[in-house]
Symmetry: C2
Subunit: 155 residues, 2 copies
C-alpha cells in the first residue's frame, strides 16, 4: 500500500457580483444554471453524469473526464441551506477508484448595494498525495470568476 | 431572522493509546463499542436513538438530550475509511430545529510501538452563534481521554 497521508488546507475567497443574492444563489440551486456553470464549455470537462439534488442531507453527483482521461467523480452532500444567504456542503473528489480529497465548503452571500458579496471558505483534507492542495484554491477562484461572467450575461 | 454568521475553527488533537490501531479502530467501526464510548454513562447524555452506519457515503445518526433539555441530533456521514488507518467524516449538530454546526473530521491511526498514535483534525463551521467553537476542542479532548480509559479496560 502506498504510504497514507493527509494534508489539511483551508482557504478563503471573496468575490463581488453586480447581481443580487437571489440571482447568485440560483446558480447553486437551479440544476440548469449549475450545469451550465460547472459543467459547461468554459470548464472543459466532458460531463458523463450529473444528478442534481440540492437538499440538506442529500447527495448530488457528477461524473466527468478531461480529454479522455481518468473517470473523475465529485460527490456533494449539503449540510445547511439558507435560501439566498448560505450554503454549506461537503464534497469529495475521486480519481478512478481513488478518493483524492474531501472538503467542507461554506458559501455566504450578503447584499452589497444592488449586488452581492460572496465569501467562499473551503476546509480541505487531501489524501495520499493524489492531488496537491495548492491547485484547488486557484481552480475555485477560476470557477467564481466564471460565475461572475455568467451573471453578467444572465437576464 | 436572527443575524446569520459563520465562525470557522480548526483544531488538532493527538493521543497515544497502549493498544494497537485495530483495537482503536474498533471503537469507531463496532456499534456496541461506539455506543458504550459516545453514548454511555461517562458522557451523561440520554440517548434516544442511535442508528449506526459505518460506511462511506452513508449517514449514522444519534438523537439525545441532556438532563431533560432540548432534543439534540448528531448526524455523521463518512467520506473515507481505510480500516485500522483512517476515518474521514462530516458531522452536523442540531439543537431542536436549529442547525448549530458542521465539521469535517480526519482521524489518523498509526502504530506506535505496541500502541497507537491517534491524530484528530477537526475543521468546523459554527452557525449563527448557536454554539461557541471553543467548547468543541475541550469536549473532543474529553472523549478521546475516555476512549483511552475504555481501551485500558478492554480485553
Amino acid at each position: 500500500m502506498k504510504k497514507l497521508s493527509v494534508l489539511h488546507n483551508t482557504f478563503f475567497i471573496e468575490r463581488t457580483y453586480p447581481k443580487p443574492p437571489a440571482k447568485v444563489f440560483a446558480f447553486f440551486s437551479d440544476p440548469v444554471k449549475k450545469r451550465r456553470w460547472l459543467g459547461g464549455d468554459d470548464v472543459g470537462f466532458e460531463v458523463l453524469a450529473f444528478e442534481p439534488n440540492f437538499k440538506v442531507d442529500q447527495y448530488e453527483r457528477w461524473q466527468y473526464r478531461f480529454q479522455g482521461g481518468l473517470l473523475m467523480r465529485t460527490d456533494i452532500c449539503y449540510q445547511d441551506i439558507v435560501p439566498d444567504h448560505r450554503i454549506v456542503f461537503i464534497y469529495t473528489m475521486t480519481f478512478g477508484d481513488k478518493r483524492a480529497s474531501s472538503s467542507q465548503v461554506t458559501v455566504e452571500l450578503t447584499a452589497n448595494g444592488s449586488g452581492t458579496l460572496l465569501r467562499h471558505t473551503e476546509q480541505g483534507a487531501f489524501f495520499d498525495g493524489t492531488e496537491p492542495p495548492e491547485g484547488r484554491e486557484q481552480g475555485t477562484g477560476g470557477l467564481l470568476d466564471l460565475l461572475g461572467k455568467l451573471l453578467e450575461e444572465a437576464p
